[in-house]
């Protein structure tokens, strides 16, 4: 017990006092919190569109003024010709260009259905689709006010958004960022720990002491675990106090799940660390491991969008389960049963990675 305490305290000091690990410890979480939470949005706002209005009547002007009044649109560039339109789209000055044909007002006046043409930039297909839906809404609302012909009763469906009524992106981002940041720091801190001792020459010193292998391993696992838990607390507080994201589930359950997840990740980091000879290799190794873990977690795009074979391969990615838990406990008051249903795969992954890394650690002692 005394030995274990000694190595744990040493590992914690090593982490805090080494200026290099301080960089990995504090800067990524800060950057992520400040930039990622705002920058990583799939919302589309401040849109620049072009307008080629060849009708120039009351109704087309009405459309234009509603466009200008919409909070989603920033500037409306008046276009004079199809040539200008082409150039504006080509140069990405606008993401969409609206074409109102010369007979538009006449058709509206005469009660005929009228069509507004929209050309969108398929290079940014995702944003373009969202722009199209905004334009559709405006077109519908202009049409609804035109007059007797449009007595259409209000929509045939009522849409309710549970868990995040106003579909606020930050509510989605913060629980996801939490998963990201504990993964990134957890992996890099663990991956460094053994390789740093190898490179600095202290590894031999450790191996000739009476410390047992499992004591060394446990001692090295505790600091990343603590870092992960501290990050968890910081993000929990920031979400609540700065960003106003609710936390509806059980806090105890959350930290229990976080601990299990951290252990699984630490196993991966230990694997990388045991293989690496130098810190350089450990850094690259943990980077190569971090990218798929994070990118395929379901945060950047849903897991169900992946091809089937990749979904199967992704079953070993602990981040995808923890992401569900994080969103569930923040927003959905996820009950114990549902959390455990996501947790057991992480437990299996953790057992495998930890056991393998312990084995590798022993095998690589020479």
């Amino acid at each position: 017990m005394g030995r274990l305490r000694a190595i744990t305290i040493k590992e914690i000091w090593a982490l805090i006092r080494d200026p290099r690990s301080r960089i990995t410890l504090f800067i990524p979480p800060l950057i992520q919190l400040l930039i990622f939470s705002y920058a990583a949005t799939l919302e589309v706002d401040n849109i620049d569109v072009g307008l080629l209005d060849m009708s120039a009547g009351v109704h087309s002007s009405e459309f234009a003024s509603r466009l200008a009044g919409s909070p989603n649109f920033r500037t409306i560039k008046r276009l004079q010709s199809p040539g200008e339109l082409r150039a504006a789209i080509d140069r990405q000055e606008v993401i969409a260009a609206i074409v109102i044909e010369a007979d538009f007002d006449r058709r509206v006046e005469s009660g005929q259905p009228a069509t507004i043409g929209v050309v969108l930039d398929g290079r940014r297909s995702n944003a373009a689709q969202i722009v199209a839906s905004y334009l559709q809404d405006i077109a519908t609302s202009v049409g609804a006010d035109i007059g007797p012909l449009s007595r259409a009763p209000p929509g045939g469906s009522v849409v309710t958004n549970w868990f995040n009524p106003s579909l606020d992106f930050v509510w989605f981002n913060l629980p996801g960022l939490l998963v990201l940041i504990v993964s990134v720091t957890g992996l890099s801190v663990t991956a460094q720990s053994v390789s740093r001792e190898r490179e600095l020459g202290t590894f031999d010193q450790l191996m000739v002491s009476p410390l047992r292998t499992h004591e060394i391993l446990i001692g090295k696992m505790i600091p990343p675990l603590i870092v992960g838990l501290i990050n968890g607390i910081i993000y929990l507080l920031a979400a609540r106090l700065i960003f106003g994201v609710p936390f509806t589930g059980s806090v105890a359950l959350f930290f229990f799940a976080l601990t299990v997840y951290m252990l699984a990740l630490i196993g991966v980091g230990m694997l990388v660390s045991s293989i690496s000879q130098t810190q350089q290799q450990a850094f690259l190794g943990s980077f190569l491991a971090t990218v798929p873990v994070v990118m395929l977690s379901g945060f950047s795009s849903p897991v169900e969008n992946m091809p089937g074979w990749l979904q199967i391969a992704n079953l070993v990615n602990p981040a995808q389960y923890f992401l569900v838990i994080s969103h569930g406990l923040f927003l959905k008051a996820m009950p114990v049963g549902a959390v455990l249903a996501q947790l057991w795969p992480i437990v299996i992954i953790g057992c495998v990675t930890l056991a393998t890394s312990a084995w590798l650690f022993r095998a690589r002692m020479e």
Binding site: R3, L200, D204, M207, V208, P210, M365, E366
Partner: protein, 578 residues
Amino acid sequence: MADHVAQARDIVKRFGDGKPSLDGASITIVPGEITGLVGPDGSGKTTLIRILAGLMKADAGEVDVFGGQPGEFLDDLGYMPQRFGLYEDLSVIQNLRLYAELRGLPKDEQAAVFDQLLDFTDLKRFGDRLAGNLSGGMKQKLGLACALVKTPRLLLLDEPSVGVDPISRRELWSMVKELTGEGIGVLWSTAYLDEAESCDTVFLLGEGELLFSGKPGELTGGVRERVFRISDFEERRRRLLTRLLDRDDIIDGTIQGRAVRVLMAPFSPRPTLDALGLASSVEIDPAAPRFEDGFIEILGGGPQGTSALAERYRQVPPGDRPAIEARGLTKKFGDFTAAHDITFEVPAGRIFGLLGPNGAGKSTTFKMLCGLLTPTEGDGAVVGHDLRSAASDARAALGYMAQKFSLYGDLSVRQNLDFFAGAYGLNRTSARSAIDNVVDIFELGDRLSVNAGTLPLGFKQRLALACAVMHQPPVLFLDEPTSGVDPVMRREFWVHINGLVERGVTVLVTTHFMEEAEYCDEITLIYRAEQIATGSPDDLKAKAADLADLDDPTMEDAFIALIQASERVEQDELRSAA
């Protein structure tokens, strides 16, 4: 035209606040001579060399290289930095070619020059080997070759011989000596004082100031008739040395096999048997002074003889088995045999030395005995704990101190001590008293919160020893413990070790310093994975004297003679097999 190739006068160089790294140092390098730059660690040797190479600017003082500013005529400069400046992932030939091109050696001359340099450095067989896979000695020669691809007028060598075995060191010296014959001016910085002694001129730095300059003989001359060799005594030699060093009229002393060599303080009378409390059978003979004696004196003398550490150490009870046993230890890495059938025993309370050139297998043997490597064949035991079945118990019984300073540099002194006390399973109370003890003994008190990595080398050394002995182990493993450390600190270190051995501690040491080898009770010489000779230092010297027909050989002579003899035997066997 000046008669020097480079000269620096009254150089001041400051890094941050505090005492300047160089404080008014001067040096002159003359063509055709080896100029020695000598001084303890941190005395500013490297800074001065870098200023001469144009890599740093002096804050004050005048520097003149080839009659211009440093860095102006780089075509004529050869420079070998401490780490040799080799690209480890390039082959020997690729390294040479790179530096040849960079120095503008014409293409049509390259083949001939490379040929000559590879001959000169005996690296011909390794032309295609990656520099990273060369031994320390070979790297050093390749580094020199790279500095010489285009014959320079000035050659700056920054501690070229640190961590290199005596054979390589001697070869390098003779290579450089040969160059001076061509009129090259060489600056050789070193911590080895026997090298300094062979230089044509010596500049001695201490804390950035020039303490001495002139022929080495002038420094040695100052201690003439004050050096004596005491032999044929009955007393245990370590105890005698301790007693002598505690006297005020003796400022330095070392063990030399069965004899003790002492340096008397200035103006003290010639020592008599009575005054030293020695029996009448003991002989006291004047000995030839060495540069080292003058060096120690100019730095204020060596330490006292009694070790405070040993005084507070427990008395290790003698066991019924040898403290360290190696029986047929063999280690193979794939096809390569790193150590073969190594067998020896070390009785409790003795110092046992593992000697050998770089890469010969002494580190492998050492690592097997302290449990870092599992032997392929054979077994061993430490204080009766078998290395295979009770490795953890064996590890608990030993203290370990490695070649490279291998404590945690980012942790404070206090945190390092806490960790090692805990790692060796001391409970809270005994950890506290052990730490208080070593802090007191090694005067670490006002540095407890300093990062271990920023300590001066001497204090690092003390801290490393403190961490290794806090749990009062019966056995100490020392892997090149004083590599790169200056003689005064080395003396202090050995005072402690000698004291501990008198307490019954057993020591296993690997070293390149022949002076350290002299402290050993028994030595085994390992060469090409085999044990080629085992015996006391005097035995080995006698054996070497027979083999090479030498008169009163030094330990280094013995080392070289024994290895050359082994090589001859091997060649004979090869020939007869063919």
